[in-house]
Symmetry: C3
């Protein structure tokens, strides 16, 4: 079980992520996330869900690069691929609030995973963010080219995506990548208070706010999301990309160690 | 007289707001604001108007909740309700610059009031902001769902509106809700210098900058503003909302005291 | 030679700007920039270009105001004026990354010059920014009314353009005008590391990221850029503008001295 759901009440759920050794977003992650999404949508009293990681060093490392063919295929109810883009859009459109409480690394698809949440709070000392795809001759394929600039503006999104660098939580907060950086010792209490507060309000008001906001704010377009995802997988097939991926895997990618901990440096 | 206008010159006016005990935005506020807006538009040499509060604890508390039926009815020259949305759009389109110099609380319609100004400066120690509508089972109905995300981005607007929390001026500045937070002891001199500076420039240039910017930047749509306002008033009619409003009024809402001072805590 | 190009490799160029005494953007600047732009586009291996100033007090002061009729005329391949708007758009669309490493003043067209780069890094102590056009009865004519609000949001863009004030690098970073402010002693090493890093990645990935982002993010419209430029030059013809320009020139504009160093104060 990658996702352990603690149902604090009908209206407030907490989900812990654990996929050793570094919480990669692999085929099992995708399949179990689809089941969890169905469960969240089915609980009509649900008001708020908090996602956190059981691994203090990794929130979600990145997409699994060895077995990408195992990911679930086909499109979901939003018309997007069920492997992930469909889930992202369902989170956006859900009548409940999704919150990522981030400790550890959230890079690549891990960063794009948290971009799909309504709200992101990050440990000031222990959260790190990156879009390292350029290091394997590619680019963000799971929404980063569509959502990150809506959070940070175009210039900072280009800086992040073109450099593949790791960003600490304070810089991420300055850039708008996360809502705010909270001192690590205070993060859990802060997020719990925030979530309990929302759980005390009316479901009708929560759902109305999200649905009205979704009509007012700029959201990514489905065809952009799909086009980028297709081009991302194509880019991984190039000899140059294969070679860069092989070198990183040989050096320890997807195992717990210095390459995963300091990926920005190793690109 | 809720608004006291000090005409420092033809080109520079200062307006002080006083509607005891907590500066609620009530029917009289609305009616007198319409007259003031007509006066500002009629002064063809006007270049800059600064609004401040005579009450150091409250800029504008929120909408009056007991007598909402007294608000002026009908649509104004912009096609929007004259009670407030029409004024907001006229401020946006005016050939003069509107500045809010904020001390004290600006919550709900008070927050939406300042969102309609061109520029917002806030006392670092004494200004507080919130959209507390969720606490009465509702949502911002005076432009907050249309304008706040243009200032803060969607994720932070959702955080603010879904939590109903109070925000201090430094967080508001980080989020873009206000242009900047200025130490309270420096605020008046800072705003005066800023306004006098603008008053020294050409009216033609000022009006050109605003009209060109209004064609370049994303602005709220009239039908969005109107739809949200209608849904806001409908939401107040629900039994759940009536009960939440009654409880807050019983505890001291709309009187000077702890509920108004620390509304975020009491929701 | 206003631009000195150091070709560190096929993929990484560094350009130093020197146009004494204060690096004005004059007709020669425009003509040589067109040649440089052609060179950059012709080098198919180019991945990253860094622009910096040889003058620590001035990055680019502003447009030359005495001989504006000497600027090259006609439209370039983007359909925009070749004097500058065409270059701005070509930088945006280029398959390489453009970085401004800013020391000294970047005001007016100097500010608009750096707004056209993909990424802006500024010396925390020595970089200053402004849009002083209002001080000559005019408004930004080289893209500032189209690009600045995309970086800072509308409210802060209005504050900057309506005040004509000088902004330090930390405020510019808070507002999003620049990506970040870097301590002056660290700026060169920071930018060099950043540029070398990008130069180590694949050209295909770099070009893909820029072209995909250009389809996803909001960009200025050609007709807006052209309309504002036309109106800018018209505004300079008014008696009021001529008088304000003459007074500034009499006081030392376009020479090295207090007016240029502290232009915000002198408007």
């Amino acid at each position: 079980m990658i996702f352990t759901t603690q149902k604090i009440s009908d209206s407030y759920w907490k989900v812990s992520i654990e996929n050793p050794p570094v919480n990669v977003f692999d085929a099992s992650f995708s399949k179990q996330l689809i089941i969890l999404m169905d469960e969240m949508e089915a609980e009509e009293n649900l008001k708020v869900v908090v996602f956190e990681s059981a691994n203090p060093d990794f929130f979600v490392a990145h997409v699994e690069l060895l077995n990408i063919t195992d990911f679930p295929k086909g499109t979901g109810k939003t018309g997007l691929s069920i492997s992930w883009p469909d889930i992202a859009k369902r989170l956006e459109q859900a009548p409940f609030v999704s919150i990522a409480s981030i400790r550890g690394r959230a890079r690549g698809l891990g960063s794009e995973f948290v971009q799909a949440f309504d709200i992101r709070f990050a440990s000031k000392e222990k959260a790190f963010f990156g879009q390292p795809e350029i290091g394997i001759g590619s680019f963000p394929g799971g929404g980063g080219l569509e959502r990150l600039h809506l959070l940070t503006g175009k210039a900072r999104a280009l800086e992040i995506i073109l450099s593949g660098n790791d960003y600490d939580a304070e810089t991420a907060a300055l850039y708008g990548w996360v809502n705010r950086a909270v001192p690590d010792a205070e993060l859990d209490a802060f997020v719990t208070n925030f979530a309990e507060r929302i759980a005390s309000f009316d479901k009708f008001a929560i759902a109305s706010i999200k649905s009205i906001m979704n009509e007012r704010a700029v959201l990514p377009k489905n065809d952009h999301i799909m086009e980028t995802q297709t081009r991302f997988f194509q880019s991984l097939e190039s000899p140059e990309s294969r070679q860069r991926i092989k070198r990183l895997l040989d050096n320890g990618l997807q195992t717990y160690g210095d390459v995963e901990l300091n990926l920005g440096k190793h690109l």
